[in-house]
Amino acid sequence: MSQSPDAWPLWEVFVRSKNGLAHKHSGSLHAPDAETALKSARDVYTRRSEGVSIWVIPSSAVVASSPDEREPLFAPSDDKPYRHPTFYDIPDEVGHM
C-alpha cells in the first residue's frame, strides 16, 4: 500500500484544450520533478493536439473534501430552489427574461 521514498512522486495533470476554456483535470503521472512532469504530461496527455497549456501539480498538494462530508457540505443548497430562475413564474407576455 505504501510508496517507497525512492519512488517518483505523483503529479496531477490539467490541460487547457484551447484559449477561452479552463484547464481541466486529465489524469496523473509519476515524475521526479516538475519539469519532467510537464514534459511527460505532454507525451502522455496531449498526443493528439488536446491542449494549448498544461498545469502539473504535486498530488500531495491537493486538499480534497471527504465523501463523508458530502451531506453537510452540499445538502444545504438542495432546499433553496429560489436560487434558480425557474422558481419564479413570469407570464409569457413579458418575453424572454
Binding site: S2, Q3, S4, A7, P32, V44
Partner: protein
C-alpha cells in the same frame, strides 16, 4: 458486522442506480480487490502488448508504416500509464503493480504470448486483437469505477485508429500478389482463435462474471462480447476476400447471430498458466527493460533532490542577505 452488511447493501443500491464510485468513496473490500486486479491486468496488457509490435518497428516496409506503428506502440505505453494511475487511486503503488507483473503474480492478456512472425501479423493484430480489445473497452467506458471509466473513454478515442491501420495493412495484402494474399490468410488463421479467446472463458466457467456484472464493473458477459465481435468481424473478413478458419461458422437466422465452432480452451488455460509460446520471452523483455532503466530512474531522482536542495539553500542565502 450489521453495519458492514448495511454498507454493502447501500453500495449495491448505489451502483444499481448507475452511480459511479470514486476513489475516496466507501467500497466493499472485494470490489476494491477486483478493481485492482482487473485494472492492473489491463495496464500490464497494454505494456506487454507493446512487445509483439515493437518487434516490427525496425522492419516496417515503408517510412509511413513505420511512423504509424511507432505511434501505435507509443499509444499503448500511454494507455498503460492511464491504467496504472487508475489502479493507484485504489491504494496500491506503481512499484507493487510492476513487482506483481515481473514476479509473475499478475496476469496480462493471453494474446500477447503469441509470436508476430511477419508483417501481415501487424495487420491481423491491429485489426483483430485491437478490435477485440475495443469491444471490451467500449463496454468498460460505462464501468462503475469512475477513474477506470474515464481512462477507458480516452483509450477508446485513441484506439480506433489502431484497428483501422491494421485493417488497412490487411486490405493492401489481400489486394496484392497471390503470395501477399496468402500471407494475409495465414495471419488471419493464426490470430482468429486467439482473438476469440481474448474475451475470456465461457460464462459458465468464468468465476468472476456474476459478481462483476452485479457491481456493474462489466456490463456484458464474455460470451456476449465474443458473439458481438464475431458478428461484426465476419463481414470484414468477407470484404477482404479471405476465409474465417472455422468450418462451423454459419449465419443462424433464428438467433440472428453467427454460430461458430468450439474454442480450444485447453490452449487458453495453458497460456494463462505460463506455457504459451512467448510467455518467458515477454516477461524477460519486461524485466530487462526494468533493470536497464533503473539507473535512469535513480539518476533522475538524485538530480531532482540535488536541485531541490540547491534551490532551498539559495532561498536561505537570499533571505539571510
Amino acid at each position: 458486522m450489521g453495519e458492514e452488511i448495511s454498507l454493502d447493501h447501500r453500495f449495491q443500491a448505489y451502483v444499481d442506480a448507475d452511480n459511479k464510485v470514486e476513489p475516496k468513496d466507501w467500497m466493499p473490500e472485494k470490489y476494491r480487490k477486483t478493481m485492482i486486479r482487473q485494472i492492473s491486468q489491463h495496464a500490464h496488457s497494454e505494456v506487454v502488448g507493446m512487445l509483439p509490435e515493437a518487434n516490427w518497428i525496425t522492419r516496417a516496409p515503408s517510412l509511413r508504416s513505420k511512423l504509424i506503428l511507432l505511434a501505435k506502440v507509443q499509444d499503448e505505453g500511454g494507455h498503460g500509464l492511464y491504467l496504472y494511475s487508475a489502479a493507484e487511486t485504489l491504494g496500491i503503488s506503481r512499484e507493487e503493480l510492476l513487482d506483481d507483473l515481473l514476479a509473475g503474480r499478475a496476469k496480462y492478456s493471453s494474446i500477447f504470448n503469441y509470436p508476430t512472425l511477419n508483417w501481415a501479423d501487424m495487420g491481423a493484430v491491429g485489426w483483430l486483437v485491437d478490435g477485440a480489445a475495443i469491444a471490451n473497452q467500449v463496454m468498460l467506458c460505462r464501468t462503475s469505477y469512475g477513474p477506470y471509466a474515464r481512462a477507458m473513454v480516452r483509450i477508446c478515442k485513441e484506439e480506433s485508429f489502431h484497428q483501422r491501420q491494421g485493417y488497412e495493412i490487411m486490405m493492401h495484402l489481400a489486394a496484392g500478389t497471390p503470395d501477399q494474399k496468402a500471407m494475409a490468410q495465414d495471419a488471419l488463421n493464426r490470430w482468429w482463435w486467439p482473438s476469440l479467446m481474448m474475451f475470456g472463458p465461457p460464462d459458465d466457467q468464468s468465476p468472476n462474471t456474476a459478481q462483476s456484472m452485479a457491481w456493474r464493473i462489466k456490463r456484458k458477459t464474455n460470451d456476449e462480447l465474443r458473439q458481438e465481435f464475431v458478428d461484426k468481424t465476419v463481414p470484414q473478413v468477407e470484404f477482404l476476400g479471405l476465409n474465417v478458419p472455422d468450418s462451423h461458422l454459419k449465419w443462424n437466422d433464428a438467433r440472428e447471430h453467427y454460430d461458430f465452432g468450439p474454442i480450444d480452451w485447453e490452449e487458453f488455460f495453458q497460456i494463462i498458466a505460463g506455457n504459451g509460446p512467448c510467455n518467458k520471452e515477454r516477461l524477460a523483455a519486461r524485466q530487462k527493460a526494468h533493470d536497464d532503466g533503473m539507473w535512469v530512474r535513480e539518476a533522475a531522482l538524485a538530480h531532482a533532490k540535488k536541485r531541490a536542495a540547491a534551490s532551498a539553500s539559495n532561498a536561505l542565502k537570499t533571505s539571510a542577505a
